[in-house]
């Protein structure tokens, strides 16, 4: 039986799509506090302002992240949501959990929280929505001791690292993303649990440029698998595709009437760098021109595979639109090896250099991508001690001024000014 009238929210149940209002009402039958979520939200819709207060002092002992405090500004009217804190649970790498773990977490959450979740947050965490301050330490104890999971990141911390399925299930993966994600999570526990940075910092691991975790769009430090040598070609399988023996795209999009497979139209002409051609019935690739866009590999997975000299590119600076507009990560390091044997040493060297600089120079609530933009890419590359390469250039220069440093000019800047003035009087 609803505790509050919610005519505005009820409208959201009327469409053909799933509705969070329906979900909330169902949950409210089990946990009456959920009626107060609906009640408060209805008032927000009427008043056109939020009735959540911003932030809070909650947390579990010793952790400066993982709990996001929320308090209602109408606690008397909606006591069930007087506190409505979020608990972020660090997901296992590649989200390989079993149903036992999910049941255990939900059991804790039904007992000690609202029972509502957001699976998963954009950082990958299992997000448990809505509990009271006095439950937090108990929840934390049960999660860590009974289930064996930890809290994720929030605030000005390293956020919970996340990764694609990687080599566990995907033949395109150019490194073991799950291993990398786990190793980095364990190495940087202090950065994850105790705020160190001017603002949030996310890192995500994709095994190949298909970028299934959207690292390039959603992480400050994006690690995207790639290869340095040539795409492996199985010419017999190429012929197989041309002859219609294998379905293109691994059988995806098969519902449409596309006609017989046309390698020119569907692969060669769509290569963004025009670096593919046929010689007789052999497919050729000018690998120096290939940008690793993955298109041809996706269409003919049996015939084309990533090269064997595998690793990852590091791109820095993606973020959602808060201060400036949304921004994708920018390529900074074209290739590093991502080896578990050396403990992902190259990755760690680069990320720590970024942090050291950003902790000094970043402004309050400024993402590293914004700090980078503020000082300019050339300066950032100098700080990172990386020589510029053509791939760093976004577009040809549009202004006529070139600023040289003295050491970059043969003979330096020394000149006889008196001699110059004879020819160019003031």
């Amino acid at each position: 039986m609803p505790k509050h009238d919610t005519p505005l929210l009820d409208q959201l149940e009327s469409g053909p799509w799933p509705s969070f209002v329906k979900d909330l009402k169902r949950q409210a039958e089990k946990n009456p506090a959920c009626w107060d979520i609906l009640g408060q939200m209805e008032v927000s819709y009427e008043d056109k302002i939020t009735h959540w207060k911003h932030g809070g002092i909650v947390g579990v002992f010793g952790y400066g992240g993982g709990i996001v405090g929320r308090y209602s500004d109408m606690p008397k009217r909606f006591p069930g949501v007087a506190h409505f804190h979020t608990v972020r649970v660090n997901q296992p790498s590649s989200k390989f959990y079993n149903t036992k773990v999910l049941r255990q977490i939900m059991d804790i959450w039904e007992r000690r929280g609202s029972g509502m979740t957001n699976m998963h947050g954009s950082t990958g965490d299992l997000v448990l929505l809505g509990t009271f301050t006095e439950e937090l330490e108990e929840i934390f104890y049960e999660l860590t001791h009974d289930v064996g999971v930890d809290l994720g990141g929030s605030g000005g911390n390293l956020r919970t690292p996340s990764c694609c399925l990687g080599q566990a299930r995907c033949e395109w993966s150019c490194y073991d993303t799950a291993e990398a994600c786990h190793n980095i999570t364990m190495t940087y526990q202090d950065e994850l649990h105790r705020p160190a940075f001017p603002y949030k910092f996310k890192t995500k691991f994709s095994g190949c440029p298909n970028d299934c975790v959207a690292a390039i769009a959603r992480s400050d430090f994006s690690v995207i698998g790639t290869w340095r040598d040539d795409i492996r070609i199985d010419q017999a399988a190429v012929k197989g595709y041309v002859n219609g023996e294998f379905p293109a795209n691994g059988g995806a999009h098969a519902g449409g009437d596309w006609g017989p497979f046309n390698i020119k139209k569907e692969v060669i002409d769509l290569c963004p760098t025009n670096c593919m051609w046929m010689e007789g019935d052999e497919l050729k690739i000018d690998n120096a021109e290939c940008t690793r866009c993955m298109h041809c590999l996706n269409v003919m997975p049996r015939a084309l595979r990533p090269g064997l000299d595998q690793g990852a590119s590091i791109l820095i600076g993606a973020k959602a639109p808060i201060l400036d507009g949304a921004q994708l990560s920018t390529l900074i390091v074209p290739f590093i090896k991502m080896d578990a044997e050396n403990e992902f040493e190259e990755y760690k060297e680069i990320i720590e250099k970024c942090w050291d600089w950003w902790m000094e120079e970043g402004k309050n609530r400024e993402r590293i991508g914004e700090s980078m933009q503020r000082i300019g890419l050339p300066t950032f590359l100098k700080i990172m001690e990386i020589d510029p390469i053509p791939q760093h250039v976004k577009e040809p220069r549009s202004n006529p001024y070139v600023f040289w440093k003295e050491e970059e000019v043969e003979g330096g800047f020394e000149r006889d000014l008196a001699e110059f003035r004879k020819r160019h009087p003031m």
Partner: protein
């Protein structure tokens, strides 16, 4: 450069005297004589000692003295 105890003392003094009840690490960096990482470690040690508390909006984090952090409405971001 100050040692850990001195850095802690400087942070506590800053948090007591500052106009705002809660400060970002960056605010401390402007006033405390130490590297950012050292300030962060010292501030977190103060949290462990329960002399300082975190205040978080969810997206960024501030530090405050427990008695001043109670004044939540004034913190804001």
């Amino acid at each position: 450069m100050a040692d850990r105890e001195e850095v802690k003392a400087q942070i506590l003094e800053l948090l007591t005297k500052s106009k705002k009840p809660a400060l970002y690490l960056k605010d401390m960096q402007k006033k405390v004589d130490a590297k950012p990482r050292e300030i962060k470690n010292a501030a977190n040690e103060l949290v462990r000692d329960q002399k300082v508390m975190f205040w978080s909006s969810g997206s960024s984090t501030m530090y405050a003295l427990p008695e001043r952090a109670k004044d939540e409405d004034k913190i804001g971001v």
